[in-house]
């Protein structure tokens, strides 16, 4: 057995010196300026025209979907919604830098990543209307998407639980010899959960090919970042855990794309985790249950509207001659129509038959659930008017 020396890399000092400030300055990668021009010192973006224009399309698609669904919630058509307005770049540009084989484990504000993977409007709608076409069988609140075919893990509401899971998933990918990584999205608030610390530490120690992607959007519901942590953001913690780390401008799609691409290469080639902290701003309310006017000013929000990632990328594309403005505008109105049509369609689809209440609890339906289902069906059959969603389909 080899002797160990856990002091091998510890330097000695002879003065009492308490470390008060961070020793490392963590800059924020920015490639595009808010007006869409490239920073003079920035590397020329290595991105294909097709990728860049699709990024813009998907971001714009999500902006419209969010607007429409917030409206639908206000009309009482769905029970809940959670918009990603102003943060579209974080999810879309990072997903664009991945391979389709990579697993996405998201929090709940990354609909852009799912749209990038090809999730269709009717699929979004089926989930939000909890109808029988939702692959999750209508069991979760709106926006808790999941799609195995697209390598998008079904979302769970408890915060941060996906972080250590992502480490485990990535370890499994590595052990199975897959050319794939896991990306794990979460917010700066969720990074206060114990699971964040467990997940990063385990990924570092066990060499897991995982990208931890933190959207630092300044607010956890009403709690501002300065009441969430006292250190230098989330990036400083990655360094503490021995995780390779980069901080990017979360409203700069090209910076996010470049950083995520590099992170993926490193995660795969070195078999290790990488932490990306994307600095952005939650322009939307936390959810449709929230009203930010109670805890932040309109003026503050306005400053961030000027940093709109969609505007930023569209300007760059325009300057480059890659943007067909007429087609882009036309697509906006088409998207609005398409969203509305899909919404109307999904509203009409019934919920799952009552038998699906008891499936998937285990891999089979055990005796006691069969009994419970049987009595429930008899009860519904006796009072069909009181259970209109399911009574008509009782066999």
């Amino acid at each position: 057995m080899q002797d160990r020396n856990h002091l091998a890399s510890v330097k000695t000092t002879h003065q009492v010196k308490i470390i008060e400030n961070g020793l490392i300055d963590i800059p924020m990668l920015q490639i595009l300026q808010p007006d869409g021009s490239l920073h003079a010192q920035a590397d020329t973006p290595d991105i294909a025209k097709e990728t860049a224009t699709r990024m813009l399309d998907v971001m714009q698609y999500i902006r419209i979907l969010d607007e429409r669904m917030v409206g639908a919630q206000r009309q009482g058509r769905i029970s809940f919604y959670l918009a990603s307005t102003g943060e579209e770049a974080a999810a879309v540009a990072s997903a664009a830098a991945l391979s389709e084989n990579d697993m996405i484990m998201s929090q709940y504000r990354e609909q852009g990543a799912l749209a990038w993977r090809g999730y269709r409007t009717e699929q979004f709608m089926n989930q939000m209307f909890s109808n029988e076409k939702d692959p999750n069988k209508g069991r979760q609140m709106p926006i808790h998407y999941g799609d195995k075919a697209l390598n998008f893990m079904t979302i769970s509401s408890p915060l941060g639980t996906q972080i250590p899971q992502a480490s485990g998933y990535a370890y499994g990918q590595k052990m199975a010899g897959k050319e794939a990584i896991t990306i794990c999205y979460f917010g700066e608030g969720a990074a206060s959960e114990g699971d964040f610390h467990a997940g990063l530490n385990m990924a570092a120690v066990l060499h897991c090919p995982v990208i931890f992607f933190c959207r630092n959007n300044g607010y956890a519901i009403s709690t501002p970042a300065e009441e969430q942590f006292a250190g230098d953001g989330i990036a400083s913690r990655g360094i503490g855990y021995g995780v390779k780390t980069i901080r990017v401008d979360g409203n700069d799609p090209l910076a996010i794309y470049a950083a995520t691409r590099r992170a993926r290469e490193i995660a795969l080639s070195d078999s290790c985790p990488v932490l990306i902290e994307a600095m952005t701003y939650r322009l939307a309310a936390h959810s449709t249950s929230d009203d930010p006017s109670g805890y932040r000013s309109k003026n503050e929000e306005e400053k961030w509207r000027l940093k709109d990632p969609i505007l930023r990328l569209s300007k760059w594309l325009e300057n480059k001659g890659w943007l067909d403005i007429d087609a882009f505008e036309k697509q906006k109105s088409q998207t609005r129509e398409q969203v509305l049509a899909a919404l109307k369609e999904a509203e009409k689809v019934p919920v799952n038959p009552i038998d699906d209440l008891v499936t998937d609890v285990l891999d089979h339906v055990p005796w006691h659930l069969k009994d419970q289902l049987q009595s429930l069906k008899q009860h519904i059959a006796k009072y069909p008017d009181n259970y209109p969603k399911t009574a008509g389909r009782i066999k």
Binding site: N131, R139, S192, E193, A220, I221, N352, L369
Partner: protein, 325 residues
């Protein structure tokens, strides 16, 4: 007296106790300036300062661990867990620490001053993660009180008693009643007893036991049963741990029948404990098996929420069946 909803009654109780006792501190996610996502802690920060009402980072295990330390030091923490569904990261702190502090130290230290407030229960289209009723997990753990109010009047009196009681209390608030339940609440200080059930309605044919938001379900079912000439006695347990077996047994000896209703799944739910105790205490008085009307043994659903819930009709059916056993 003032008309208050359940949130206002809780807010009023917190103001009462924070005014009287400087050691009381209220904290949790978003409870500070914002006043909590349900606004139960509105204006407390303005009135009592940031030192006594504050936001915490988003970590339930941290909130309860911190609260345990504060309680052990002699302060009076009232910690909020935003949803009962999110209490589980704090399970270790509650089960292994809060509940055992006094016992393991031979009574030298305790978390007796701690009260944990958390909204629970369904009926709000909240799916798995905004609807659960986790009382039975905690009822299985010796060393905790569990208290559930059914209306604003009960909420204020029970919360004041919980905060002042020298035992850790898990105070579970039925969130579907937060704004829906309104009644007269004294503006003055008052307490309602912990560990004591409340006979909400007297009757002679069958005893119906529940707590929290299910009490109104029992009342509606009892009204329906009355049309059939069935006279129900309704008991609000109020405290799940320790619970008032004496009052329930006394009632069952009178009626000869017992039905228990809770939202949580049937298996291992607190109804099982009540049923076992009552068959022990009242075996020769029972005219029918103890009935349980509960959630199904599935995770809390969304699109089938109505079908899942132990509603008025299921309760009524079970009353009739028990009567005709």
């Amino acid at each position: 007296m003032a008309k208050m909803n359940l949130l206002q009654a809780i807010n009023n109780a917190l103001i009462t106790v924070m005014t009287e006792d400087e050691r009381v501190m209220v904290f949790g996610e978003d409870v500070g300036h914002f006043g909590g996502v349900f606004r139960a802690t509105s204006h407390l920060q303005e009135k009592f300062g940031k030192g006594r009402c504050f936001n915490t980072p988003l970590t339930e295990q941290g909130i309860i661990g911190f609260a345990n330390g504060l309680a052990a030091q002699g302060s009076v923490p009232v910690a909020e867990i935003q949803f009962g569904d999110y209490i589980f990261p704090a399970f270790d702190q509650i089960v292994n620490e809060t509940a055992k502090f006094r016992y393991r130290s031979g009574g030298q230290f305790s978390c007796g001053t701690l009260t944990i407030r958390t909204p629970y229960g369904g009926g709000i289209s909240g799916g798995h993660y905004h609807s659960q009723s986790p009382e039975a997990f905690f009822a299985h753990c010796p060393g905790l009180r569990i208290v559930v109010p059914r209306n604003p009047y009960q909420a204020k009196g029970l919360l004041l008693a919980s905060i002042r009681d020298d035992n850790p209390v898990l105070f579970m608030e039925p969130k579907r009643l937060y704004r829906a339940s309104v009644c007269d609440v004294p503006e003055d200080d008052y307490e309602l007893p912990l560990g004591k059930a409340d006979i909400v309605q007297e009757g002679k044919d069958i005893t119906l036991v529940g707590w929290g938001a299910q009490i109104e379900i029992l009342q509606k079912a009892a009204e329906r049963a009355l049309e059939d000439g069935i006279n129900c006695e309704i008991i609000d347990l109020r405290s799940i741990a320790p619970w008032d077996a004496e009052t329930v047994a006394g009632s069952v000896m009178k009626t000869g029948r017992l039905l228990i209703n809770h939202e949580a799944p049937l298996t291992g739910g607190f109804a099982s404990e009540i049923a076992a105790t009552i068959q022990d205490k009242c075996f020769l008085y029972l005219e029918a098996p103890v009935a349980r009307v509960c959630g199904l043994d599935t995770p809390y659903p969304l699109s089938h929420e109505k079908e899942y819930m132990p509603d008025e009709l299921k309760t009524y059916e079970s009353i009739v069946k028990t009567m005709h056993y």
